[in-house]
């Protein structure tokens, strides 16, 4: 089967007047269609850089990115990118916010609009469609941001610490929420986080990045002995603790 995302020896150097920063080095991996892959790594190791390269917002300094087998240049409409912050436009209503992608891609058709309405209803935001983002709770905003991403019907989702702005309780709930939505819609997902527990609870496979320049230090397949796994249930799996300890050790975080 053709992988949804494939990286071949990708590296990235940033050039600044102060000097050259090597952010990523020799990153190769592939993600199958429908897989949920997590990426963890210490702060500043190049996680956002990696997602930006996959999304096409950033060009790699070397190496290749393949999306469904085709070498990818520039922003790819098959990819939806959820940024580190929800970045809802405060001057647009929720409905107008989730319409953004369709507007930009000139795809405001009756069919797509009804698709959006369906998503809003299905994920409990229809009553708030005419509200402004400031009137919504953090979890609802996150859901709105996800619907905005899903509205243009991407095959692949990139999530960059999409939940870090939420408090712990909400975060657990939104994890479940968003995981279910992604699975139900049959999307491929790559999620970046520095929350180890979150990564284990949601991913089928996990890549641990080293300190900058980021390289893949370890790849872990997460096999949990529970049925119908959801992030919340996963946290109760007997293997959870072992995975956690192993990744914690690999991350090698020192607190001075």
């Amino acid at each position: 089967m053709i992988p949804a995302v494939k990286l071949e020896k990708v590296n990235k150097r940033y050039h600044t007047p102060e000097g050259e920063i090597s952010a990523l080095e020799d990153i190769s991996f592939s993600v199958g269609e429908g897989e949920f892959v997590g990426i963890v790594g210490p702060s500043g190791c190049g996680k956002t850089t990696l997602l930006s390269i996959i999304s096409g917002l950033l060009e790699p300094s070397g190496g290749k990115v393949f999306i469904f087998g085709e070498e990818s240049y520039g922003v790819n409409p098959k990819i939806g990118y959820m940024l580190q912050r929800d970045s809802l436009f405060e001057w647009r209503t929720i409905y107008k916010n989730v319409m953004l992608g369709l507007e930009i891609q000139n795809q405001v058709t009756a069919e797509n609009i009804s698709g959006i309405n369906e998503l809003l209803t299905k994920y409990g935001l229809n009553a708030f469609r005419d509200n402004y983002p400031s009137q919504l709770s953090g979890g609802m905003r996150q859901r709105a941001a996800l619907i905005r991403t899903l509205a243009v019907n991407p095959k692949i989702l990139l999530l960059d610490e999409a939940f870090s702005a939420l408090d712990y309780q909400t975060r657990l709930a939104v994890n479940d929420d968003i995981y279910n939505i992604i699975k139900k819609e049959g999307k491929t997902a790559i999620m970046v986080t520095h929350d180890i527990a979150e990564a284990i609870s949601m991913s089928e496979r996990l890549y641990v990045l080293s300190r900058r320049p980021g390289t893949i230090k370890l790849s872990v397949d997460i096999n949990l002995s529970i049925e119908n796994r959801t992030p919340l249930l996963s946290r109760k799996a007997p293997e959870f603790r072992q995975y956690f300890d192993m990744i914690w050790k690999e991350l090698d975080i020192h607190v001075l």
């Binding site: 922003v75 940024l83 970045s87 891609q105």
Partner: protein, 267 residues
């Protein structure tokens, strides 16, 4: 959210706010009335020389004289047209130039020092130049008004554009937006408050430009009336013109404010 069921405290709180607001309005009106009364009294009791300081009564008389002989409207109309033209042109050109600067980093870097100098330069100094180029008429006056608001608008709006949240730009880029869409979907709407603010500043600046322009040339307009009144020592005429001027400036300012509310609800 619903406000249907108010507690006692809430009702009292709302009442307090209301009565406070009311007393502020009353105080404002009183301040104005007292000011007029003191001025009038001082003039009629000869504490001040009404010939130099004028008085509310004399100003009213002058206004009604101007109204009756029909020249009031000519002057008001002339100045108003020049100001509105200068204001609209200055603001539109300013925003347009800001867009051009935003669209090219190299271009804006090249122009930066020139803009800074142009901003520091008192634009009035160019008045005589415009008069020579454009003739001693409304065109020169409008140009003075335009120049005064232009550079400030460019700098302010451009700064606003540059402060657009990068994450929002990245977001629309990830959705496939081109340069134009980045401008219309993110940069312009998020700079809306800045643009509105510079609009309000420009109202004041355009009046300055027009009045100064009319000081320099002109055969009609409020600026002309003020200069003329000063030259023939008719301070009543000067004061009357200033009164009209403040009324017009206030109306225009509130007009912009209403426009802001209208657009804010819609875009």
């Amino acid at each position: 959210m619903s406000y249907e069921t108010f507690s006692k405290e809430q009702i009292q709180y709302l009442k307090r706010i209301k009565s406070r607001n009311r007393s502020i309005v009353i105080l404002r009106i009183m301040l104005f009335v007292v000011f007029l009364a003191v001025w009038e009294a001082a003039a009629s009791l000869k504490w001040i020389d009404p010939f130099i300081f004028s008085s509310p009564g004399r100003i009213t008389a002058t206004l009604s004289r101007l109204y009756i002989d029909g020249s009031l409207w000519t002057h008001v109309f002339t100045t108003l047209c020049e100001t509105v033209a200068g204001f609209l042109l200055g603001t539109a050109a300013g925003v347009l130039i800001a867009v051009i600067l935003w669209s090219s980093d190299t271009f804006s870097k090249v122009l930066e020092p020139y803009l800074v100098v142009a901003n520091a330069l008192p634009k009035i100094a160019l008045g005589p130049v415009f008069i020579v180029w454009l003739g001693a008429g409304p065109l020169a006056i409008i140009t003075v008004a335009l120049t005064i608001s232009l550079i400030v608008t460019v700098l302010e709006v451009y700064t606003g554009f540059k402060q657009t949240d990068c994450e929002k730009i990245r977001l629309v880029q990830s959705l496939g937006a081109n340069r134009g869409q980045i401008l219309t979907k993110v940069v312009l709407p998020s700079s809306f408050p800045v643009v509105m603010n510079s609009l309000k500043v420009n109202v004041g600046l355009s009046w300055v430009g027009v009045i100064v322009g009319e000081f320099l040339v002109s055969k009609a307009g409020l600026g002309y009336l003020i200069v003329y009144g000063g030259q023939v020592f008719q301070l009543d005429l000067v004061m009357a013109s200033v009164v009209i001027l403040s009324l017009l400036a206030a109306i225009m300012y509130f007009g912009v404010q209403i426009l802001e509310k209208k657009i804010a609800g819609r875009y």
